[in-house]
Amino acid sequence: MLKSNRDPGYRFLYPKQYRQGELPMIRKLCLITLGLLGTSVAHADWALNMTKGVTELSAETYDLHMLIFYVCCAIAVVVFGIMIFSLVQHRKSKGAVAATFSHNTTAEVIWTAIPVVILILMAVPSAETMVRLEDSRDPDLTVVITGYQWKWHYAYQGKDVEFYSTLARESNDARGKDSGIDVFSVDNYLLDVDRPLVVPRGAKVRLLITSNDVVHAWWVPKLAIKKDAVPGYLNEAWFRAEESGVYRGQCAELCGKDHGYMPIVVKVVEPEEFLAFVASEHDEKARVASAN
């Protein structure tokens, strides 16, 4: 059998554009002729950097991240620049004669003081963001999240809606060692669940996070939330999603053998859609109750 272009063994060998389903024309034609071009599969974008996310705070977090990154880059240019200059100029093979100095108070004061100033400049915006991250007052909606080995439970407070959310069937079928399923053919492999957490766009959603067994961590990068789910603790986090869409994340604290298999999916919908979701949950509950 011929190997498909999604065969993992070949992926590293081709540049990125060959692999994201955007094959160059000639190649595409060849593959179509050969009947090898598979159906397009949903993957998250290949990324180098942190996401900007879809909340005000995730954007702030991103900005802080870029700020400190650029500060580091600037320091790196200066420090590495001086070192490399020194390595090139002050080498024995070029006939350099060693100086004998071993102290310079002025220099030492300067390179102690400058980092202090940079750190203070970094600390102020970081502290401001930190304060906002922790301000979960006056939410529009509260969801209690409970971590289990190895799934999540969501309970909407005051809405009488609750359910478990586990790894999607397609991923679960493909994940075994001898599944025989090419994981590249699975939509959102390991990042999809059977029932996503549905929340309304624009609402301040407060999360109360705990665990029923071991420590887990609820993490959705696009919402800039990562909070440990600790048994005996009720941790708070909050977000206000500005854009509707589907946002994926994973458990971020080692929680046993299936730690890698308890993803998180948050579906942000328009407020009216959210009301419809709650209503349909109630209907379903009534239907199940009457069937019993």
Binding site: G9, S86, A96, A99, A107, E108, D258, G260
Partner: protein, 528 residues
Amino acid sequence: MSSTTHSAEHHDDHGPAKGIKRWLFTTNHKDIGTLYLIFSLTMFFIGGSMALVIRSELMMPGLQFVHPEFFNQMTTMHALIMVFGAVMPAFVGLANWMIPMMIGGPDMALPRMNNWSFWILPIAFGILLSTLFMNGGAPAGGWTMYPPLVLQTGNAFPFLVFSVHLMGISSIMGAINIIVTIMNMRAPGMSLLKMPMFVWTWLITAYLLIAVMPVLAGAVTMLLTDQFFGTSFFLAAGGGDPVMFQHIFWFFGHPEVYIMILPAFGVVSEIIPTFARKPLFGHDSMVYAASSIAFLSFIVWAHHMFTVGMPLTGQLFFMFSTMLIAVPTGVKVFNWMATMWKGSMSFETPMLFSLAFLFLFTIGGFSGLMLAIAPADVQYHDTYFVVAHFHYVLVPGSVFGIMAAAYYWLPKWTGVMYDEKLGKIHFWASAIFVNLTFFPMHFLGLAGMPRRIPDYSTQFADFNMMASIGAIGFGLSQLLFVYIIIKAARGNGVKATAEVWDNPRGLEWTVPSPAPYHTFENPPTIKE
């Protein structure tokens, strides 16, 4: 700087015993140093092969080789073995070999305890490695041993606790020995501030060890009683607190980080002046910087726990204190930079490793600074960004420091020069592959890949493939290191002079190469 009145008289009865007894019963600091170093190298390869199991599995998405349970055992054991079995014993080995010679003392102050503190280690790691063959497998809850997860460990659990106890006992005894040696065995005239930087950083490290190893021992003992004696220190259902373990663990764990890097600072501070042919810049400020780092390491622990749900004020305190560490660390880097400045540099293997240390440790420092920013850490925490960060400070940091030391002092230990050409090949292979392994991990973490997962979503495939290729390359390069060491240890090479290098500073270069079994039976005179 100094001269020695090395005793010419012979003490035949003081020579090493023959055969295995020499090593079992030795109280000689050089023999014990050698034992530590060999043990560390062995553990480096055992822990390294576990890393290769991890990287092979992560080479491609989907499970190819191991099951998730075994994968978790590998990550846990890799960390425990590398931290307690490879890096720490290597530095204790270097301390044993070099500190008495550097301060002009005849041996370690407590030679019998020295023997014991080494021989506990093979027992501790024998116990730890035996768990791989037990019902339920080796510990798989991460080297951080967070409860309640660690309490789900199978038969391995008590063995894990006891092996950690033994490692702690060994470390504490080693540290006591080093402190007593430095405080009491210095040659007349060697005041504290005249001590070489390696001795200084080890003195500070030894105090850190004594301060925090008992804390770890206490934490794991509480785990043990929670598991077997009905206590609920960390069990929420019994009124205990799982987060308290994390606080206690990181109160040990953060100073532990500096325990693994400070001696490397010392090594680099010895090597750079030698090959720049210029005295170390700011010796005293280096001492103060290392002491400040050690002090700060006690008040930053909860930056490992920014997502655990601490009060805002707690988070702010730990963010600010963590950022402060950048200041003394910066001072050290700038001092090394100034040592090189206007020197007359040559680039033998120890210098190459030290320079790579300087560049790559600084990169690890930068990602450390980024991690200190608490709101950003929320996104970085427990991702491959953290894995990239601590491997940058531990592999091209601590491990390159150890390798630099090995090349620097190997001629003193063996009496012959190591193979410089092979050494350089080893360096370049290591330096290239270490970056290929760990640099892509920054991107993986930022793109959202959590650590400690055996399988991942397909968009992470490319960088994982790069990292795995790098890891295999790095692992294979280390075989060359072993070959070079064995070659030199067998006396195969150009005979080394007493000085070995071009006019190096330090008492160790005043004794012949190889260093006689007993050195400085009569203390040298420190001039200046």
